[in-house]
Symmetry: C2
Subunit: 261 residues, 2 copies
């Protein structure tokens, strides 16, 4: 069945700049390594998205509509459909001493973060630094080759794909998610390992909110619950046969006990 | 009814060193201010505890057994029933340069933290610093005056008192806790404000574990769940009459939307 807006799909893709042929993003580990953009903190698996859900560039989203599972397509996007045109106002002069205050020595080509934006230094002269805050892909025509890896057809898979998309905990095993459906309520218990996340509770709330929002806007639920469960340990027999040290849940009590001074 | 082990009670207390009369801990804001130990991060309310649950010094725990709601008692505890005897091995010589590496100038009387222990500098001479790692109350006979403020008699109050005891989120309003009882399972939804906790998720897990453990060891439940709920917003009428800016839950969607770049 042809894919339409609101469908949950997994896609493989590779994006490159038409002008230079440089690959800037891909779901393939092999291609990432070839292109020298491999990042060991990224997982190279098909990307789960909701068509029309704002997870992809609009032009790319549209190109997938009408395809079927297994189809592939190459789509070329002009700057206005991709990363926008370059904006000359985003090229700014900054005093070199601002960089030195931060312990940085400015030189052409250096990229840095400032207030959530990435700047790239173009030139340095006479104590003044010319910085380009445009997205490096602004003004470029880009080409994506896309493969529709899978069209998801049940709520369990769809919800798991949203967890995979939004939950930035690297060790999460999405297959260890327990889902409980009760009318218009879905209760989600994530892989136990996520309870040991070092991120702030607030950041986790934001991730969960994005999952919940995608669920109640695209599926037939109006209440999304995240449940952390603590069970009373079973009474243990006198001599334990073995200790499963690879099971975090089983050892939760012990782990936490030991952490209390 | 006389209090026994396992009872949930709220107590007011003031502890002082017998020898000097110095107050070192109290649940009374007025007494804390008088004694010049007032800490604005502490909440001066009756302390919820489980008798025999290890929340108090053992000597103090025992002194409360047999009392009734409203009773008061003064109890004197020898060092071995209170903070232990002084241990001369915990008085150590450290090189002054270790302090300077940390940007500290050592002087007699200075207190500092090292690997979870509090050290107090006794003397500084010839590049050597004599530090006492004993608890400042070690070796002291202490006197507590205790009032049994309340004996809790239902599970809802008992569970709320455990949240108050273990959940170190200063803005938490324990009365905003929603409890759902279903057989041997209790589901706890905390005050929405706790979702914006800046602490790590792992630290929150440890707090929750302590609450859960106190519940399943002292009450008749074997499964304790912490639930974070995200509800689909109701469709809003065209012209909103007013915005309730004091309601975090209502504005959650907006708050989080705005945080996404």
């Amino acid at each position: 069945m042809a894919i339409e807006n609101g469908d949950f799909v997994k896609i493989e893709f590779t994006g490159k700049v038409v002008e230079t042929g440089d690959v800037f993003d891909t779901t393939s580990e092999e291609i990432a390594k070839e292109a020298d953009i491999f990042d060991d903190k990224k997982s190279y698996t098909p990307l789960p998205i909701i068509l029309g859900g704002g997870h992809l560039l609009e032009g790319l989203d549209k190109a997938i509509i009408g395809l079927n599972e297994g189809d592939s397509k190459v789509v070329t996007l002009a700057p206005e459909e991709a990363y926008g045109d370059r904006d000359q106002k985003l090229v700014q002069l900054m005093p070199a001493k601002e960089f030195k205050k931060q312990g940085m020595t400015p030189y052409p080509g250096l990229q840095f973060q400032a207030e959530g934006h990435t700047g790239k230094i173009l030139t340095v002269s006479g104590g003044r630094v010319k910085v380009d805050f445009n997205n490096p892909l602004a003004g470029k025509t880009v080409e994506y080759s896309v493969v529709v890896n899978k069209v998801l057809d049940n709520d369990e898979d769809k919800i798991k794909s949203l967890i995979q998309l939004h939950y930035a905990y690297p060790n999460l095993d999405v297959e260890k998610t327990a889902l409980n459906f009760d009318g218009k309520t879905v209760a989600i218990t994530l892989d136990d390992i996520t309870r040991f996340d070092q991120k702030s509770y607030m950041d986790v709330t934001f991730q969960r909110f994005r999952i919940a929002k995608d669920i109640y806007e695209n599926l037939d639920y109006d209440n999304v619950q995240f449940v952390d469960e603590f069970k009373k340990p079973e009474d243990k027999p006198e001599d334990k046969p073995e200790v499963k040290t690879d099971d975090v849940a089983e050892n939760l009590e012990e782990t936490i006990e030991n952490s209390e001074e």
